[in-house]
């Protein structure tokens, strides 16, 4: 945890805070609730035409899998309502998504891998343990709030791994690479925590 145990938090003279009415059991430490949907990304927004888009499962798998946009959209999808938490401090409650469960994409895949790298248009990557994207915990989302996902929010499709900080939900995702070793991704080599559990406030290296 980021607070050193040898010194209690310093009280800031005259600070009262706004305090929203959000249920504290849904807002992790250090987060505040926003109604907006801020955009954060490290570079220009990619615009891959849907006819050139595909999604693939690669790496340590018995055989590569790939779906065109049409094939991907023909897969069974789920409606998901979840809270999301960005490492830049905002949380957004009850966000509504539609996406394909990673369980569906990995159904029948044989692998000894324990880690997954999400790879994307634009070159972004982020790593997660395989068990954090299976068992109903992660989706490849293509709609937000009932509308197709906008490019600035990661459209046409982004990962949704809501139990981790939101940089672990890659925008413009194009596939999953299954690995037997843990390979830190873009932010993970740039100072951010390798796992990123918001409830343990794992924001940065060493948290």
């Amino acid at each position: 945890m980021p607070s050193p145990s040898d010194r209690p938090p310093l009280v800031s003279r005259g600070f009262r805070g706004r305090r929203d009415n959000s249920p504290s059991d849904r807002v992790p430490p250090g987060q505040y609730v926003t109604e907006d949907f801020p955009v954060l990304s490290a570079g220009p927004t990619p615009h891959t035409p849907l006819e050139q888009w595909d999604f693939s499962i690669v790496g340590e798998v018995d055989e590569l899998r790939s779906w065109t946009w049409e094939e991907f959209r023909a897969l069974p999808s789920e409606d998901v309502t979840v809270d999301i938490h960005c490492v830049t401090k905002w949380s957004k409650l009850d966000t509504v998504w539609q996406g394909v469960s990673v369980d569906t994409l990995l159904d029948g895949v044989e692998t000894a891998a324990e880690y997954v790298v999400q790879f994307c248009d634009g070159g972004y990557t982020t790593n997660v343990p395989l068990e954090d994207v299976t068992g109903g915990k992660a989706w490849v989302a293509f709609a937000y709030g009932g509308e197709p996902l906008e490019p600035e929010h990661g459209g046409p499709a982004r990962m949704l791994v809501p139990h981790l900080y939101f940089w672990k939900s890659a925008k413009w995702v194009r596939g999953l690479r299954l690995e037997s070793t843990d390979e830190p991704g873009f932010w993970e080599v740039n100072g951010y925590h390798n796992y990123g559990d918001p409830w343990r406030e794992q924001r940065y290296w060493g948290d």
Partner: protein, 248 residues
């Protein structure tokens, strides 16, 4: 920075206010002395934590405005009327007050003088803050990296760091303003939002492969980054930092 240098936990440090400097209407620079500050690179940010009497806490991230300078760091904060933290930082804090900081944070949107140029910096409003840290680092290091700053502000009196930018202009640095809402009577400069034509005029040409840094509100960054890519800048050379109206 070597990974080992920051692998240790970023602990909360006590930061004492040594000065509060008004910049423009609603924007102030707060100068802190932070004993134990590990140093930073231009473009990085810092987490601020405020604690109320009853233990309630709020955290936010702010870009660092100052060049690396021992235990001193400066934050330039825009007051957001519906914000929780920025009104406190800009209206309440005064010399001698203490708050908590931890950082530096972020290893991507950074520039160091050793990286050289050419450099194209494009800012909307208070998005100039991390870019100012780069200009100050450039100045401190005596770097002659060819640098252009295109700064979009609403009006002449809304230009953050206006006087300092005037002083820094020259020696390989070109400062270009665009004023999107109101212009002084004698204004002959740009008077519209940043677009591809303006970016092409300001340069440098994409064939010079400049390092490009864009910071501002999301719609600004989206529009500028898209125009830059359309002009032929390599997407991987265009680094962006965005802030929304909820930065609080």
């Amino acid at each position: 920075m070597a990974r080992a240098a920051v692998l240790g936990r970023l602990t909360w440090l006590v930061a004492e206010v040594v000065d509060v400097v008004p910049e423009t209407d609603g924007v102030k620079t707060i100068v802190f002395d932070v004993p134990g500050w590990p140093g930073h690179r231009a473009g990085q940010h810092v987490d601020v934590r405020l604690t109320a009497e009853d233990g309630y806490q709020a955290q936010r991230s702010y870009s660092i405005a100052s060049a690396p300078d021992a235990s001193r760091i400066e934050l330039t904060v825009e007051r957001l009327d519906d914000g929780e933290v920025s009104p406190y930082l800009t209206e309440e804090l005064r010399e001698g007050d203490q708050i908590e900081l931890r950082g530096p944070v972020g290893g991507y949107f950074v520039w160091e003088p050793s990286q050289g140029g050419p450099l194209l910096l494009v800012a909307g409003g208070s998005g100039v803050v991390p870019l100012m840290a780069m200009l100050r680092a450039r100045e401190t290091a005596g770097s002659d990296a060819e640098t252009r700053l295109l700064l979009s502000s609403r009006g002449w009196d809304d230009v953050i760091y206006r006087g300092e930018l005037e002083r820094l202009d020259g020696d390989g640095l070109t400062v270009v303003h665009t004023l999107t809402r109101t212009q002084p009577q004698s204004w002959t400069g740009y008077a519209r939002r940043v677009d591809a034509e303006m970016l092409a005029e300001v340069g440098p040409d994409p064939t010079e492969r400049p390092f490009v840094y864009v910071c501002g509100p999301t719609p600004f960054v989206e529009a500028v980054a898209e125009a830059l890519v359309r002009l032929g800048h390599a997407p991987q050379n265009v680094k962006t930092e965005r802030f929304g109206p909820t930065g609080g």
